[in-house]
């Protein structure tokens, strides 16, 4: 079933002359794991903001579960779309538990009292992600990887159908990168739709099942991993030559290998 | 207003009766006369009370009421800027005299506590006499009107001798005596003309050029200026400067110019003395 569908979405920021997005039409179904990739400034983050309901003045239509996004209330939207930001500039030092509890907002009254059910849900999520030990610590004191897990936990507390992520693994070390993506796979198996922006072609290749390549506000390619991740297509979208695509010997998925320029020594 | 007071004074009734007083800002106050206890928050009016010989009725004064010396021995009711409401409440005077202006909030507080306050704010010398008549009326003082008449004679307006005066009450920044200031009236009465007579402010900041353009014959400073004050542009290049007619008044002399009370006579005399000397 179509969960997110955009029809000819075009958008221009008021300060610029050119369109940021040009007639973007994509259709994402339930339980897909989709990656959005493309050069910087291609419009990926803008598209995300539109899907999240943060940007309104665009041309075209956006449907969630077949219904126009403007017909949903704030709370209803929050039960469909959840978001994990790339960076956080949090001034106030809330604890991990308090931050995860914020994710329950769509189900609470304004004062935010948690019921037993809410508390159970939060604890289950912490179990699932393995962050029980750090629940009482201040969020600002955690490592990058731990913070990322807490933000996933918050998004999961929203119990939304879709998880949107903007370059979620950029600041993670190897351990947390893999841990993070493994958890995503698990969530996907449990029924969550995943849509993420990433620059890491290999990560996309190994974990996602569909990739959309965007360049200059237009969808250039959209399809399964093995079809889209090939040298010719990537070179066209990224305008960049120094790499080759080869089949991963273990997983069988296309992987990207850089060809260093002659300037640096071996 | 003055006519009504004088008329009632001639009746000279000696027993207590309620009266409605109208003060200098138009407020109506109902009090039983004659009064027997006063708190004065206005230094000028403290002086008036002593001048009229009614100081036995004065129960407390503000800290700023420095003259006469006996006033310092009276109970203190706060400062001019911050009257002590608690103390006044404890004393429960028949009337409180306020100089208005910055005491407005204190006045409101006192009114809320049902303590009668009259605001007296003499704007010129005639008002000083009016205030004193009012005070003598409410204290039931029989021999006061004579004293006040005597006072009025001493500050009788003199003929205009066409002499131009410029006065400053402060030098940095320059605060000159303006057209609506009390001292302006003093100058007029003394027979001279304030070069700032037409300004609408009390103590405006004046430019050097204005002073020079208006050629004052006499300059009087009501403060202690810096050492080379005579070199100042606005002093040097005036007839006053050239003929050495710049007067710096001593602290005591300054006080009598700035207090709108009975000692204004001394200020008046000083002015007329300076003016007559130059007239020769």
């Amino acid at each position: 079933m179509s969960i997110i569908k955009s029809e000819n979405i075009s958008f221009r920021y008021t300060e610029s002359y050119n369109n940021c997005l040009n007639n973007i039409s994509i259709d994402i179904n339930e339980k897909e794991m989709v990656a959005l990739a493309g050069p910087n400034g291609a419009g990926k983050t803008t598209l995300f903001k539109i899907i999240c309901g943060l940007i309104k003045g665009y041309a075209g239509n956006l449907y969630l579960y077949g219904k126009d996004i403007n017909l949903y209330s704030n709370i209803e939207l929050a039960k469909i779309i959840s978001y994990i930001p790339q960076k956080d500039n949090y001034i106030f030092d809330f604890t991990v538990y308090e931050i995860i509890a914020m994710g329950r907002r769509p189900y609470l009254n304004s004062f935010g009292i948690l019921s037993k059910k809410d508390k159970d849900i939060i604890l289950n999520i912490c179990d699932f992600l393995g962050i029980n030990k750090i629940i009482k610590r201040k969020y600002s004191n955690l490592s990058g990887g731990e913070k990322r897990l807490v933000l996933i936990a918050r998004a999961l507390a929203q119990e939304a159908s879709v998880l949107l992520m903007d370059e979620p693994t950029t600041y993670l070390d190897l351990y947390y990168k893999i841990l993070f993506m493994d958890k995503l796979l698990e969530l996907n198996k449990k029924g969550k739709t995943i849509l993420l922006i990433s620059h890491d072609i290999n990560l996309i290749s190994e974990y996602m099942n569909r990739v959309i390549l965007i360049k200059e506000g237009k969808v250039i390619y959209d399809g399964k991993i093995k079809q889209v991740i090939d040298e010719k297509k990537l070179k066209e979208v990224f305008n960049f030559d120094n790499f080759i695509i080869e089949k991963n010997k273990v997983s069988g998925n296309p992987n990207l290998f850089f060809i260093p320029t002659n300037k640096t020594g071996g | 207003m003055r006519v009504i007071f004088v008329f009632i004074l001639f009746l000279q009734l000696n027993f207590l009766y309620a009266e409605t007083i109208i003060d200098d800002v138009g407020r109506k106050i109902d009090i039983k006369l004659p009064i027997s206890s006063i708190v004065s928050l206005s230094p000028a009016h403290t002086e008036m009370i002593y001048f009229l010989g009614q100081e036995s009725k004065l129960k407390a004064v503000s800290v700023n009421c420095s003259f006469p010396k006996e006033a310092a021995l009276k109970e203190k009711a706060g400062t001019f800027l911050n009257p002590d409401i608690e103390k006044i409440l404890k004393i429960k005077p028949d009337i409180v005299i306020s100089g208005g202006g910055i005491q407005k909030k204190a006045i409101k507080n006192l009114e809320n506590l049902n303590i009668p306050v009259i605001v007296l704010y003499p704007r010129d010398i005639e008002n000083i006499a009016d205030n004193m008549y009012l005070l003598s009326f409410i204290t039931g003082c029989k021999d006061c009107p004579i004293k006040i008449k005597n006072f009025s004679t001493k500050v009788k307006p003199q003929i205009n001798k066409n002499i131009k005066i410029y006065m400053e009450i402060w030098g940095s920044p320059v605060m000159a005596v303006g057209g609506t200031s009390f001292i302006n009236d003093l100058i007029k009465r003394a027979g001279a003309q304030n070069i700032l007579n037409d300004t609408k402010q009390e103590y405006p900041k004046i430019s050097d050029e204005f002073v020079i353009k208006n050629k004052p014959d006499i300059i009087i400073l009501l403060y202690e200026p810096e050492k080379n004050y005579k070199e100042k542009f606005r002093f040097k290049n005036t007839p006053a400067g050239k003929k050495n007619q710049i007067f710096v008044l001593s602290k005591e002399e300054q006080d009598v110019f700035l207090r709108t009370g009975p000692r204004i006579v001394q200020a008046f005399n000083k002015l007329t003395e300076i003016i007559n000397r130059i007239n020769k």
Binding site: K79, D93 | G78, E86
Partner: protein, 321 residues
């Protein structure tokens, strides 16, 4: 620190602050005499007049103003995600001060009315200019608020300089004064303020979420436009009431939320009420000192809040390290 322990000890502190303030003043009243007055309120002695008509209203005003400044400080620091913000940054206090200045110079009867009007007009003005397409832009709000505040302050100084005989009246009003004997005014001020503050506390969890990131808050279901409008208008009206009643008393709104946050954490559901009580206690103590330290003169309370507040804050900061 356990939340219950904190609130309890603050209330005890408030009680003692009130007691301290009731026995202090230019007329000496001992604790015995005070108890006498409190037990027999109908008995019309000198002391009872002083306690009930002078000191108690003053203390009640200090609680209201100190409390408002504390709460508004915590709100604005959350909204602007900036711990250096104080209640006067929105320009409201300058608006109230401007209204008061006009009333002082042109000798209008009700200064409070003019001050409130000035505050309200300023809030509406700043709000109108910061809203675009139904979206309240916080960045613009801050800029326009600061600019408007500066402009009005300059206007105040201009008027004071021009009508310089009123200069000292304006300056003294600005420096803050908690004396009040008008019970009706106090009653109405309490009534409106408490309603607004309760509203603010009710939605404070949304403000918690908002204080991390506006976009993320919106995605998790917070009505961000409503929250921004509610808290901006609330803090404007509350600050306007405080300034209209007592002049500009600085430092309370900046420092109290900070200090309280050390003990309660950033959760506004508890930080707001605690900031109210903390602000109230602080202002009562400062006011008592201001009016007794240099008798018979009375120092403007705004000076004491600055002189006391800064060292306390630095002390807590150092101890925390």
């Amino acid at each position: 620190m356990k939340k219950h322990v904190l609130i309890f000890s603050l209330i005890i502190l408030l009680f003692f602050a009130i007691l301290f303030s009731l026995i202090s003043g230019s007329i000496k009243i001992s604790i015995e005499e005070l108890l006498n007055v409190l037990i027999k309120p109908y008995f019309n002695s000198d002391n009872s007049l002083i306690i009930y008509k002078i000191r108690l209203p003053r203390i009640l005003l200090a609680i209201l103003v100190g409390g408002i400044l504390g709460v508004v400080g915590s709100i604005l620091q959350a909204i602007f995600k900036n711990p250096l913000v104080d209640p006067f940054i929105t320009g409201v206090s300058s608006g109230a001060a401007f209204g008061a200045t006009i009333a002082i110079i042109f000798n209008f009867y009700s200064l409070t009315f003019f001050a409130i009007s000035g505050a309200v007009l300023t809030i509406l003005f700043v709000y109108k200019l910061s809203v675009k397409n139904n979206n309240l832009n916080l960045y613009n709000l801050l800029l326009i608020g600061v600019m408007t505040g500066s402009f009005l302050s300059s206007l105040i100084m201009f008027l004071s300089a021009f009508f310089n005989k009123d200069l000292i009246k304006v300056v003294f009003w600005l420096m803050g004064d908690l004396s009040i004997t008008n019970f009706t005014l106090l009653k109405y001020s309490y009534f409106f303020s408490i309603i607004i503050i309760c509203l603010c506390i009710y939605f404070s969890n949304d403000l918690n979420i908002f204080s991390l990131d506006e976009d993320e808050a919106k995605i998790s279901g917070v009505k961000t436009e409503f929250i921004k409008t509610l808290y901006f208008l609330s803090s404007g009206i509350l600050t306007g009431i405080a300034v209209a009643l007592s002049g500009v008393i600085g430092f309370v709104g900046l420092v109290i939320p900070h200090i309280m946050r050390f003990f309660t954490g950033p959760d506004l559901r508890i930080l707001m009420p605690v900031s109210f009580i903390g602000g109230a206690v602080f202002l009562i103590i400062c006011d008592t000192i201001a009016r007794t330290l240099f008798l018979p003169a009375e120092i403007p309370v705004g000076i004491i809040t600055g002189l006391l507040g800064a060292p306390i804050f630095i002390f807590i900061l150092i101890r925390r390290k």
